[in-house]
């Protein structure tokens, strides 16, 4: 059995962890307690496992953990600062944009990637960014509304 020691930045902090060659990034993130990272389809179709790699959304079920060495990973757990929720999290709560909630961490991470790049996206841009995030409760209208609201809130801050 092959084991490898890797280091990466997780939610702003350096972590060193021993991983098996076959372990995917999602496996290691969940092992490290990042339970917001969900496994849905396992093949990159559903987006529940999306995290940010150096600021860009990626599917953590399609990446081996060892490939995250020396990179920077952000999960939903890394969004709140000192107990203060991120504007996206606040907007999802205020607008009741979460139904069963399983897809929401992946959606918020995609939305974070989008707002960092396009601070005031149009509805079309939001829907285009979310193509790889499936919500089986089909609550897309509220989700899009929450992302727009968070963008406006950030713009007025």
């Amino acid at each position: 059995m092959s084991w490898y020691k890797i280091s990466f930045k997780l939610n702003g902090e350096h972590v060193s962890v021993i991983v098996r060659g076959r372990e995917r990034l999602i496996d290691v993130l969940r092992r490290l307690g990042m339970k917001s990272v969900k496994e849905g389809c396992s093949v990159g179709d559903c987006g529940t496992c999306i995290v940010l790699l150096d600021g860009e959304p990626i599917n953590s079920c399609l990446m081996l953990a060892i490939q995250a060495r020396d990179r920077e990973i952000t999960t939903l757990e890394g969004l709140s600062r000192g107990g203060e929720l991120h504007p996206l999290q606040r907007a999802f709560i205020e607008l009741a944009a979460s139904q069963c909630g399983f897809c929401i961490p992946g959606i918020i991470m995609t939305a974070k990637g989008l707002l960092d790049r396009v601070p005031q996206p149009t509805e079309e841009e939001i829907r285009h960014a979310l193509v790889g995030n499936l919500c089986r409760c089909t609550g897309y209208a509220k989700i899009v509304e929450a992302i727009r609201s968070a963008a406006q809130q950030r713009g007025s801050e």
Binding site: M63, Q67, G132
Partner: protein
């Protein structure tokens, strides 16, 4: 996950030894020596599902993502060069400076997976996987070539058919810049609005002369004969030297109808694919001609 819909149950990825080269020379030595037969992982979007399906069971894997010098898109004396580790999203954004005529790359923003997949999937990976994959068709109409390296040296092969040996790796794809009066197109008919698998894909390169006559046209389909991807050469020959018009396009699509015989599968019948290929190709030619002429032809 929708295992029953896919018809397979995900398996654990087998135990693996992973080699992490940081220099090209080390990688080539490894592939030619103790790592012979090892599989290569870059973006992971193809290989991880393949391992989970059990279609691929490598004992050794080489992670080449450390070779960051292979991530580039550049324009060098009339040649466009794309590093093998360039992510598809990087290819999409390169259109901003490469020129709007490379709409075929821009179209990947709509048709190639989702944003997260485009951030992971690499140009070299898509070409190496081959078959009906989107960039294979695109490089077919761009007449792109793959630079392939091994410990023995370097060779150049068509990017749409690199036929890699197990000790070889694609390091770059390059093609001649298309120049003025040209436009490219890519379109895909899929079951979903995006992130689906193409039933029909059409890639096009069109160049008109100053009188709006077809100087050169290249059409690639994901299925030309059976499951084989390729060019619609007869339709291309028919169109070359002619001025684009409604009647001429109708005749050209009749030529294409006789030329292609795509295979049926559970996604669509061959007959449907043939019809859809004609429609998508005609629309692609119309759109490209409009972009070149500003709507005059």
């Amino acid at each position: 996950m929708a295992c029953s819909a896919w018809g397979w149950l995900p398996r654990e990825i087998p135990e693996l030894e992973i080699y992490l080269p940081s220099r090209m020379g080390d990688l080539l030595d490894y592939l030619a020596g103790e790592g012979r037969g090892a599989s290569i992982i870059a973006g992971g979007t193809d290989i991880i599902p393949a391992m989970r399906r059990g279609a691929l069971r490598p004992r050794r894997l080489v992670d080449i993502t450390g070779l960051r010098e292979l991530r580039y898109v550049k324009h060098d004396n009339g040649i466009v060069r794309i590093g093998a580790l360039t992510a598809v999203s990087q290819l999409v954004s390169s259109v901003a400076w490469l020129g709007r005529r490379y709409y075929c790359f821009k179209a990947m923003d709509i048709h190639f997976g989702s944003w997260s997949i485009r951030n992971m999937a690499t140009v070299g990976g898509n070409i190496s996987s081959g078959g009906e994959r989107d960039l294979v068709q695109v490089f077919h109409v761009l007449e792109g070539y793959a630079r392939i390296k091994s410990r023995e040296g370097e060779r150049i092969a068509p990017a749409w058919r690199p036929e890699l040996r197990e000790d070889e790796i694609i390091t770059e794809v390059f093609f001649k810049d298309l120049g003025k009066n040209s436009w490219t197109w890519f379109n895909k008919l899929e079951m979903r609005a995006a992130n689906g698998i193409g039933i029909v894909t059409v890639s096009l390169m069109l160049r008109l002369d100053d009188n709006y006559v077809v100087d050169e046209i290249r059409i690639a389909l994901n299925r030309v004969r059976g499951r084989e991807a390729g060019r619609a050469h007869e339709a291309e020959r028919f169109l070359t030297g002619k001025r684009i018009g409604y009647e001429m396009l109708r005749e050209a699509m009749e030529v294409m109808e006789r030329e292609i015989s795509p295979a049926s599968d559970f996604r669509a019948s061959g007959e449907f694919r043939r019809e859809a290929s004609k429609i998508l190709t005609r629309r692609a030619i119309e759109a490209a001609a409009k972009m070149i002429t500003g709507g005059e032809a």
